[in-house]
């Protein structure tokens, strides 16, 4: 196959922010995840945990809690506002001040008719959920001290509220507090500190379960207001609680990074009476577990260490399957790196800024495995801070390195870059067309004459770029009438075709020269995670969240023979078993047979001229091939050439000089930037 020169880049200091809240919608199987920076991510658990949507954060927004009402998503935060999100345009639909000071929690009743929020000023406020908005209805009896956590009784008639040193139970129709459950303080030095009831759940049988800052999980009888059982689970805080749908299991998250399961079972053999018994402890986090959800077959957890962990409950599986494996989601399922292939520049996207880097150079050649001496070190050319409060949602760099664009929720900015030797100058392009207000995706045509911006309802704006001005050309609209946002966009090297993919799993191909829709690729059941148009054949390669690969001939408007063969034979099980999606597809102009793909853990070149591997073939065979002689080797070759030398990959691209750029972000570097975890007594220290 051959040798490649690889720029191994580790200077992209990508740092995900901590997970603060999550809410699982059992009906749509979608998980909403709120991070500390105010961003919201939607994961589709029915489609291989694919990160379908990202709503960028905002400086002034904070999310303390998330809540689904049907298909509508609400959040509340310490800024005192309740926000409903527009999941089609990936922005807040509206925010309203609850006038109760910082809001600690938001929850809806099981009927979906009302929202309750817990405020710093000691009020529980009820809001009625209307068709297009929500409306304040009334306050429950105001208490002394903040309301930290809330849980509705499934009947909707009562609400349990976790406060400082106590839990209150409110009767919803009258608004009066009917029970007062006193929560003990911790021992020793923490005796003087108030106990914060971080989380409560109210079960149908009127059992209340609470988790507090003294490390206790307590089970209460809500009828009588008496304490049934105390489980001391940690020396630190119990932060999050989640109950399973059938109320037979409760999971709690602690500051130590453990998730502890309690189950409602008979504690001794052959006994009928059930009680809440601590059963399992999972340790997948190093820091606070702030958000938890127990779903049908798994426990989903997230917290300060920024990763989303899906821990399957193995007793719910009869056989090994995709869903029975432990999943850790570290990286976003989209690109944060743009590469100017001709100029050898890299653009890194952070929520608050962009960084432009020039790659280094080396001279001479080396054998495989060697590191080459550097002639020129990589250089940070530009550090571009965004304007305004809104975080950057997408960015693009033209392949010549002459144009740079980024978008936030409220504006798009376009810059002209000029580099001569070591000097770089940047000029903002003034007066962008008015229609270009914000974009979900941006990309430049390969000759840098056009900017494509994905807009609302899956439409694409075309902007013509020239030295003197930029002007609006056309809006491409899909015929399907989909309202979903575009999350992938790519164009062909010859400038003729533009392909887009949206969260409805639709892939549209437009003829940019004729400014019209060319075709719709047959809709496949799993969301596309990467698409690319071949530079010579103009075949569209699309890879989906379920790891399937399709090749579609744009010209002939049908799947290619290779694609049909691949589908007929099926992909190798080891390919299908991978647990991170392919996030980028690119091609080798010098060798049209080669398709380059990568996910977080591997980089792969598919050689279409080679036979496809069947299930009996050794799939990861690079080591074997290396050990074989030149004559033996051809009989062992297959199409998938996988390299795992590079780990924790954020981006892979191929420069015009045939060298690869691998952007790695070692998880260890992310971990080392986290704050210190709570101190734990280890044996013999």
């Amino acid at each position: 196959m051959g040798e490649f020169k690889v720029h191994r880049v580790r200077f992209f200091d990508y740092m995900p922010t901590a997970i603060r809240a999550m809410a699982f919608n059992a009906h749509t199987e979608k998980l909403a995840l709120g991070r500390m920076d105010g961003s919201v991510e939607i994961f589709n658990f029915a489609d291989h945990y694919f990160q379908e949507k990202v709503i960028p954060g905002k400086d002034s927004r904070s999310i303390e809690a998330l809540c689904w009402v049907g298909g509508r998503l609400f959040s509340a935060g310490l800024n005192g506002e309740i926000t409903e999100y527009d999941l089609e345009n990936l922005r807040p639909k509206y925010s309203l001040d609850a006038y109760g000071g910082p809001i600690w929690t938001i929850t809806s009743n099981s009927q979906g008719a009302h929202l309750a929020i817990g405020c710093e000023d000691g009020t529980v406020k009820l809001f009625e959920v209307l068709e297009e908005s929500i409306q304040f209805e009334r306050n429950l009896d105001r208490q002394k001290g903040r309301i930290i956590s809330l849980s509705w009784h499934p009947s909707g008639a009562q609400i349990a509220a976790g406060m400082m040193d106590m839990i209150r139970v409110f009767d919803v129709p009258t608004g009066h507090a009917v029970q007062r459950l006193l929560v003990d303080r911790g021992f020793g030095g923490s005796k003087s500190r108030e106990t914060v009831v971080w989380s409560v759940v109210f079960l149908s049988d009127c059992t209340i379960i609470s988790g507090d800052s003294a490390g206790k999980v307590q089970v209460w009888d809500g009828h009588t207001g008496t304490l049934v059982k105390t489980h001391l689970v940690t020396k630190w805080d119990v932060l999050a609680l989640s109950v399973s749908k059938d109320e037979s299991s409760v999971v709690v998250g602690t500051s130590e990074g453990t998730v502890i399961q309690f189950q409602f079972i008979a504690p001794t053999l052959q006994q009928q009476d059930k009680e809440w018994v601590r059963t399992r402890t999972f340790k997948n986090h190093t820091h606070d577990v702030r958000a938890l959800a127990e779903i049908e077959t798994a426990i989903v957890s997230g917290g300060m260490d920024t990763q989303l962990v899906v821990r399957p409950l193995l007793e719910k599986f009869d056989e090994r399957s995709y869903a029975s494996g432990l999943r850790k989601i570290h990286f976003p399922h989209r690109n944060l790196v743009s590469c100017a292939k001709k100029a050898g520049l890299l653009l890194f996207q952070f929520p608050g800024q962009l960084e432009l880097w020039r790659l280094g150079e080396s001279d001479g050649h080396g054998k495989p495995g060697d590191s080459l001496p550097l002639k020129r070190k990589p250089e940070k050319l530009l550090h571009l801070k965004r304007k305004g409060e809104d975080h950057i949602c997408c960015s693009a760099l033209s392949s010549c390195g002459g144009w740079l664009a980024y978008s936030t929720m409220s504006s798009v900015r376009l810059y002209r870059l000029q580099t001569d030797n070591n000097d770089i100058s940047i000029t903002k392009v003034p007066k962008l067309p008015k229609v270009l207000r914000s974009a979900h995706q941006l990309c430049f045509s390969s000759d840098s004459s056009k900017l494509f911006a994905a807009s609302s309802q899956s439409s694409v704006l075309i902007i013509a770029l020239s030295q003197s001005e930029c002007k609006y050309v056309h809006t491409l609209k899909p015929k399907s009438g989909s309202r979903q946002p575009i999350h992938l966009m790519t164009n062909s090297v010859d400038g003729k075709w533009l392909a887009t993919a949206n969260s409805d799993c639709e892939i549209h191909v437009y003829n940019v020269q004729k400014l019209k829709l060319h075709c719709i690729v047959p809709v496949y059941g799993s969301c596309p995670s990467a698409i690319g148009i071949h530079p010579t054949t103009n075949n569209l390669i699309n890879v989906h969240a379920d790891q399937q690969i399709f090749e579609y001939s744009i010209v002939e408007k049908q799947y290619t023979d290779w694609s049909r063969k691949l589908q007929k034979q099926g992909l190798h099980n080891l390919w299908l078993d991978r647990d991170t999606p392919v996030t980028h597809v690119t091609f080798n102009p010098n060798n049209p047979e080669q398709i380059l793909l990568h996910d977080m853990h591997m980089f792969c070149i598919i050689d279409q001229s080679l036979p496809l591997p069947d299930q009996k073939t050794q799939f990861y065979n690079q080591m074997t091939l290396r050990s074989l002689s030149g004559q033996e080797r051809p009989s062992h070759l297959h199409a998938f050439k996988i390299c795992k030398t590079f780990q924790d990959l954020l981006s892979v691209s191929l420069l015009d000089d045939q060298s690869l750029v691998m952007v790695e972000r070692p998880l260890l570097s992310i971990t080392s930037q986290l704050p210190a975890p709570v101190r734990q007594k280890k044996f013999a220290t």
Binding site: M1, G2, T268, L269, S362, G369, S371, I605, K641
Partner: protein, 622 residues
């Protein structure tokens, strides 16, 4: 877990004049599981329906007469039996209104108790230890009754047990501060006498409780220091052994008694893992309150506790899931439940559950073959049995018989100076079924006979040699080998490897004289030098003491005799040698510590080199 439920009062009690005496002599079962026959301490027997808390009938003897034993029910004839004024046996039926008009017979000796159990005939136990079946006694009441017990021996407690159609009467006696257990089998009649091990304080046991489990009689007894011991007597055991054997015991529970000792307390076994205790303070309550507690002996945990109003008088009785507790001015009935803990089954602690014990497979080694000829076969066979069928019950039996054999051999050796069987004893020790406490005289006997091989074996294999014995061995070894020689090394090596506690060892070490101390120090210095030269040749499992053990003993010896050694002129050279050697060792170790630090730094540097922000590499794909 175990639980005590809400109890109820069965009847009121009239406190006795002597506050320490229980106002109730005994509570026995009737044929009906809901009935209880309560005998008070004076003249009355009352039959209660327990669930209704009401008396069904009451019988009283005349003024001036006294009931001297609790009434029991003869389950075969549905009659009640009681003894008044020690000699008069009275038998009556439910419908008899007046006990005086019922049958009575006067026997020729004082009766201690009448015992009765379902499935067996009532048995009469006389105060001098004789046992008669009730029927045969009543057929000839004036028959002569022999004395079984010696002059000053008195019965303290008795019970009876029916197991596999075998009827047993168990009773304990006290004689000059020593306590014995008698196991009387009926049909055929055999009597076995065991000596109970003395508790260090010499105090008598406070209470006994016997139960039948897995074809073994389990005897549970409580001492004032809070220790609850269990001894196991096989139902079908080697009964032909004569003489008094020491009854092996195991500590099941150590109750926290706090400051003082227990006055009157009582422990009764509820099942294999649970014991009910009264008269003991609750560990977390104020003193001065009487509690009924259930303890789990597997985990040594308190599982349930209940405060009883007023003082608890003497024993408690336990029948069919109910505890009968006389306390204050009432007799309370407290239902309880002991569940098999899930944790216990998870930890495999419930070893008896579900094991089908086949007792017939236990090989009891032949006494004669072991002593004369065929020597290797006996113990070898035992070991094989132990290994091949892993039943704990069998292992218990084996330990029992090995212990008995060893005790007998030792006792005979002590009695007859000419008799000593080193081979047999060594084989018994090598079964590893023995320990020092089972046969405390064995090691001393070996010492006496200068059987150093056996001493060595015991030192290596017994886990529980008291410090005083360890020191005695050490003294003998040193005394008998005045010059340093290889033999002494091996012997002292064994001593160094025994388990000990500093506090207990120190006083005995002080008994060594200066000459012995110097000799022992020389020995310790020699092995210390030897082992510090070839640290790496030490292999675990080899019978040589470890470096730490040597240094610990060195320190102990120096501590114990420091002033003596300072004064002794011939110790001067030795001590200064030791000091300079230790000094050089300390220096060496500090240097080694520095090297370790540098090596670790090197290790770290290699790691950090690997991580760079940027590199251009060449890869090859095939």
């Amino acid at each position: 877990m175990a639980a005590l439920y809400e109890g109820f009062t069965l009847c009121g009690l009239v406190p006795t004049q002597n506050a320490s005496d229980s106002p109730i002599q005994g509570i026995e079962l009737d044929g009906d599981s809901d009935h209880a026959v309560v005998t008070d301490s004076t003249r009355s027997v009352t039959l209660y329906k327990v669930s209704d808390q009401k008396p069904l009938g009451s019988w009283t003897v005349k003024q001036g007469q006294l009931l001297t034993c609790p009434a029991v029910c003869n389950f075969q004839t549905k009659e009640y039996v009681v003894v008044s004024d020690n000699k008069v046996i009275r038998v009556w039926k439910d419908e008899d209104l007046n006990i005086d008009k019922a049958f009575k017979a006067t026997v020729s000796a004082d009766v201690w108790r009448v015992h009765s159990a379902p499935g067996g005939e009532p048995v009469v136990l006389f105060q001098r230890g004789a046992v008669r079946l009730l029927d045969s006694l009543l057929s000839a009441p004036q028959q002569p009754i022999e004395d079984v017990l010696s002059e000053e021996e008195v019965i303290r407690w008795s019970t009876n047990i029916v197991a596999e159609k075998q009827h047993f009467v168990l009773f304990t006696t006290e004689q000059k501060g020593e306590h014995f257990l008698y196991v009387q089998r009926l049909n055929p009649n055999t009597l076995q006498k065991y000596r109970l091990e003395r508790e260090d304080s010499g105090a008598p046991p406070l209470s006994f409780s016997a139960s039948l489990r897995d074809k073994h009689i389990n005897l549970l007894y409580l001492y004032p220091n809070g220790c609850v011991y269990q001894s196991v007597v096989a139902v079908r055991g080697p009964v032909e052994l004569e003489g008094v054997q020491t009854l092996p015991r195991s500590l099941r529970l150590r109750l926290p008694v706090g400051e003082g000792k227990l006055g009157a307390a009582s422990a009764v076994a509820l099942d294999e893992a649970h014991v009910a205790v009264v008269g003991m303070p609750h560990p977390s309550a104020r003193t001065g309150k009487d509690f009924l507690c259930i303890w789990n002996t597997n985990f040594q945990t308190l599982q349930a506790g209940k405060e009883m109003v007023g003082r608890i008088h003497g024993p408690v009785w336990c029948y069919l899931g109910k505890l009968f507790v006389p306390h204050g001015k009432a007799l309370s009935v407290i239902p309880y439940e002991c569940q098999k803990s899930s944790l216990a089954s998870a930890l495999g602690k419930l070893r008896h559950a579900g094991i089908a014990v086949s007792k017939s497979s236990v090989a009891v080694p032949s006494w004669n073959s072991l002593l004369h000829g065929d020597q290797p076969q006996g113990p070898a066979k035992i070991v094989d049995t132990r290994k091949s069928n892993g039943f704990i019950g069998d292992a218990q039996d084996l330990q029992l018989s090995v212990g008995q054999l060893a005790c007998h051999l030792v006792a005979r050796s002590q009695a007859e100076t000419a008799f000593y069987t080193p081979g047999a004893l060594a084989q018994l020790v090598q079964t590893q079924c023995l320990c020092h406490s089972v046969c405390p005289d064995l090691l001393l006997l070996a010492l006496e006979h200068k059987d150093y091989f056996l001493c060595q074996l015991c030192l290596q294999l017994f886990p529980d040699i008291p410090e005083v014995v360890t020191c005695a061995c050490l003294k003998t070894f040193i005394r008998s080998h005045q010059s340093i020689e290889m033999r002494l090394f091996n012997l002292c090596g064994g001593v160094l490897q025994t388990a000990y506690s500093d506090n207990f060892l120190l006083p005995h070490l002080k008994d060594l004289n200066a000459q012995q101390v110097i000799l022992f120090l020389q020995y310790l210095q020699f092995v210390y030098l030897k082992f510090s030269q070839d640290v790496y040749t030490q292999t675990p499992g080899l019978r040589s003491p470890t470096m730490t053990q040597i240094i610990d003993w060195l320190c102990l010896l120096l501590d114990a005799h420091f002033t003596v050694l300072v004064m002794a002129p011939d110790a001067k050279g030795l001590l200064s040698n030791l000091e300079s050697f230790v000094k050089s060792q300390v220096k060496l170790f500090s240097e080694l510590g520095k090297i370790e630090g540098s090596l670790q730094e090197l290790h770290k540097m290699k790691l950090s080199k690997d991580i760079s922000q940027y590199s251009i590499e060449v890869i090859e794909l095939f």
